[in-house]
C-alpha cells in the first residue's frame, strides 16, 4: 500500500473547497447586485415597504442546510487525515533528522552517517528518494522554526525542547533543486533561511548516499 503524499492530500481537499468558496462568493455578489438594482429606492417617498421580517421555517431549513455543508466539509477533511503512521508503505522508510537553527538547516541521514549542513554561503540540499516514505524527526537548537516545502504543500514546526515527527512521500523526481523555507518567524535573517529539495530516483539516491557516506568516513567524519 502506497502512502499518500501530502501534495495529493492537499489537492484532494483543495479541489473541492475552492469551487464551493467561489460559487458562494458569486451567489452572494449576484444577490447583492440583483437586490440592489431591483429594490433601489427610486423616489424619496418615506413609504415603508410591506413584507415579513421573520420566517422561522425558512431560517431553520437554511440553518440545517448550512450544517449539512459543514458536515460534508469536515467529513472530507477527516477522511484525508490518517490517524496514525501508515506502516504499510513501500519498502523501508528513510529516516532524516532535520535541525533548524538561526538561520540555517541541517539534514542528517543516520542510516548512512551523512550530514548535510547549510552555512553562510551554502544553501543546504535535502536529498530524498522518490516514492519512498521519509520519516522526519525535527528539532531546533534555538527558537521555533517551521520546515516548509511549498511544492509538497506541507510544513511542520520544529521546537527547541522536544522532537516533532512526521512522514512525507515525494512522488515526482525533481532534477532542479526547488525551494524549501522556514515559515515561522525566527528573527533577523528569517527571510533567508531557505533550503533546496532534490527528489532523486531510488538508485541515484543510494549511489549519492553511499558516496557521501564513504566520503564522510574517509575524511574522518562521524561514522554511522
Amino acid at each position: 500500500m502506497k502512502p499518500i503524499d501530502t501534495r495529493s492530500q492537499f489537492y484532494d481537499i483543495w479541489n473541492v473547497y475552492w469551487p464551493i468558496a467561489l460559487a458562494v462568493f458569486l451567489i452572494i455578489l449576484g444577490a447583492i447586485v440583483f437586490f440592489g438594482l431591483r429594490y433601489r429606492a427610486r423616489s424619496h417617498s418615506p413609504e415603508i415597504p410591506r413584507g415579513r421580517d421573520e420566517n422561522e421555517v425558512l431560517e431553520a431549513a437554511y440553518a440545517i442546510g448550512l450544517a449539512c455543508v459543514a458536515a460534508f466539509l469536515v467529513f472530507l477533511t477527516f477522511s484525508h487525515m490518517p490517524g496514525s503512521t501508515d506502516a504499510e508503505a513501500t519498502g523501508k522508510p528513510l529516516e532524516v533528522k532535520v535541525t533548524g537553527a538561526r538561520w540555517n538547516w541541517r539534514f542528517e541521514y543516520p542510516e548512512y552517517g551523512v550530514v548535510e549542513q547549510g552555512s553562510q554561503d551554502h544553501v543546504p540540499v535535502l536529498r530524498v528518494p522518490v516514492d519512498t516514505q521519509v520519516d522526519f524527526e525535527g528539532r531546533s537548537i534555538d527558537v521555533i522554526h517551521s520546515f516548509w516545502i511549498p511544492h509538497q504543500r506541507f510544513k511542520r514546526d520544529v521546537f527547541p525542547s522536544f522532537p516533532n515527527r512526521w512522514e512525507m512521500v515525494f512522488s515526482k523526481v525533481e532534477t532542479e533543486p526547488g525551494g524549501g523555507a522556514c515559515a515561522e518567524f525566527c528573527g533577523l535573517e528569517h527571510w533567508d533561511m531557505i533550503f533546496n529539495v532534490l527528489v532523486m530516483r531510488q538508485a541515484a539516491f543510494e549511489r549519492w548516499a553511499e558516496g557521501a557516506s564513504a566520503g564522510a568516513q574517509g575524511a574522518g567524519g562521524t561514522a554511522a
Partner: protein
Amino acid sequence: MSTTSPRPAAVPLRPPIGSRRRATLLEVLSSTDHKRIGLLTMVTAFCWFLVGGAMAMTMRAELAKPGLQFLSDHTYNELFTMHGSTMFYLFAVPVVLGVGLYFVPLQLGAARLLWPRLALGGYWLTLAGGLVMYAGFLTKNGAPEFGWTAFFPLSDAGTSPGIGPDFWVLGVILATLGSTLQAVSLLGTLVRLRAPGMTMLRMPLFAWSELVTVFMVITGFPVLLVGMTLLYLERQGVAIYSSAPHGSITYQHLFWFYGHPVVYIVFFPLVGVVGETIATLSRRRFFGFKVTVISLLLFSAISMSVWGHHMFTTNQVSNKYFSLTSTILLVPAGIEYFGFLATMAGGRIRFASPMLFAIGFVLLFLIGGLTGIMVASPPLDYHVHDSYFVVAHFHYTLFGGTVFGLLTAIHYWFPKVTGRLLDEPLAKTYFVLIFTGALLTFLPMFFLGSEGMPRRVADYLPLHHWTLLNTLSTIGAFTIFAGFLTFLVNVMRSLRLGVPAGPDPWEGQTLDWATPSPPPRHNFAALPPVRSHTPLFDLREEGRDPLRELGLEPEPREVPA
C-alpha cells in the same frame, strides 16, 4: 404626509446643539460623559490606526521590489511587529469598545454608562499601554522584533534582549487591562440601564453585538493578561515557560485562547453596525432578528473553542477537534449573511455612503470568511499556514471586516456625533479608492502564499512572478492610502462646513436617533414607547412621526425632489 430625502440638504434645522463654550482639554480627558469617553477612545484608536497604517505603507514600499532598498531587515522586523501590535492592541480592540461606549447607552435609551469611571480609567490605561509600548523605539535595541504574537522562546530575554521588549510586554498588559475595564462598564450598562420596556430581546442588533463581544472580552482577555505577566516574569529570570519542554506550546495556548476570540471581538460589533445600516437604509427591520441574535451567541460560544487552529502545524493539539469547531462557525456566519441579504430583498434601498461601506464589508469580509473555512482544514493549513495566503485571509477579515465596518459606523453615525453630514460625492470617491485598493492589495497575496512566500519576510527571492504580484499589492496599498487621505479631508471639512444633519438623517429605527445631534449631556428629554428592537420604526409603520412626537422637529420637512 411629508416627504424626505436621503440627503436632506435643504432642510431648515436648528444648528447643532452643544455647549456654547469649548470644553477644555482637561474636561475632555476627565469627563464621565459616556459620549466623551467613547469619542476619546475612538479618536485615539483611529490615530493609532494611522500610525499602524503608515508602517504598513513603509513595508509595502520596501516589498514592491526584491532586494532591501531602504529598510534594514532589523527595521522591517520592528515595523511588522509594531504594525500588528498597534492594529490589535491599540486600534481594533479599543475602537470597537469605543463605538460601544458612545452608542450603547444611546441605543438603550440610557442617560449614562454604568461605572463611567471604570471606562474612563480603562481609556487611560490603554493610552498608557500604547505610549509604553512605543517607548521601545527610544531604547538601545529598539522596539521588539518578535511579531504581535511574541512566541516563546523568540521573546525570551536571551533572544530578544533589551528593555524595548519589556516595554512592549508591559504595554500589552496595560492596554488589554484598559480594554477589559471598558468592556466591564459596557456589560454593566447593557444589563442594568436599558430603558423601561426594553427587554433583552428588544435590544437593537448593535447593542446585542456589543454584548456578545463583551462576553468574549471577559473570557479571553484575562488569559492574555496571565500569559503576558508570565512572559514578563520569564524575561526577568523566573523560569516559567522554560521550566518544561512544552513551555513554548503552553505560551501558544495562552496567547491564542485570547488571540482567536480577539479577531471576532474586533468585528462582531461591526456586524451589528452593518446589520442596522442595511436595515435602516433599506427601510426594513433586520430580517430574522431573533435567529441572528441566537447565531451571535452561538458564534461567540464556539469562538472560545477554536484557538487551536492556529497550532495545526505544531502537531501538539487535537487537529481534528479544532478543525471541527472552526468549520462549524460557518453555520452562525451563514445565518448572519442570510440576514444581510434578506433585509435588502424587498426593501427600498438608499445607496448613501453608509450603505456602500456596509456592502463593502459584506463582500470583503466574505473573502476572509470563505478562505477562513479553507484554513480550518488542517491539510490545507499545513501548506498555507504562516504564508502570505494567511496574510491575505486575515487582512480580508480585519481590513474588510473591522476597517470597512468602522467606516460604515463612521458614515452612519458621523451626523449623530457632530450634527453635520459628511459630503456624499467625496465619500463615494474614497469608497471606490479604498474598496478597489483592498482588492488590489490583498488578492495577490493569496497567490504569493500558495506559491511559497512566507509571511514576515523583509525580502524575497526574485523568483517566478513574485515581483509582479508584490508590485501590484504595493500599488493597491497606496490606493488605500489615497482613499484615507480623502476621507480625512472629508471629515475635517464636514466638521466645519457639513450640512446640518438634524436628529435623524437616515430615518433610523433605534433610540440613538430619538435625540438631537449631537446628543445633549443626558441624552434624552423623552423616550418613545419601546415595544420591539426598532422603536422608531414601529411608530413610522403606524404612520406617526416619532421626531415630532418627541418634540425634536418643530418644522415640517420640506424637501427637494
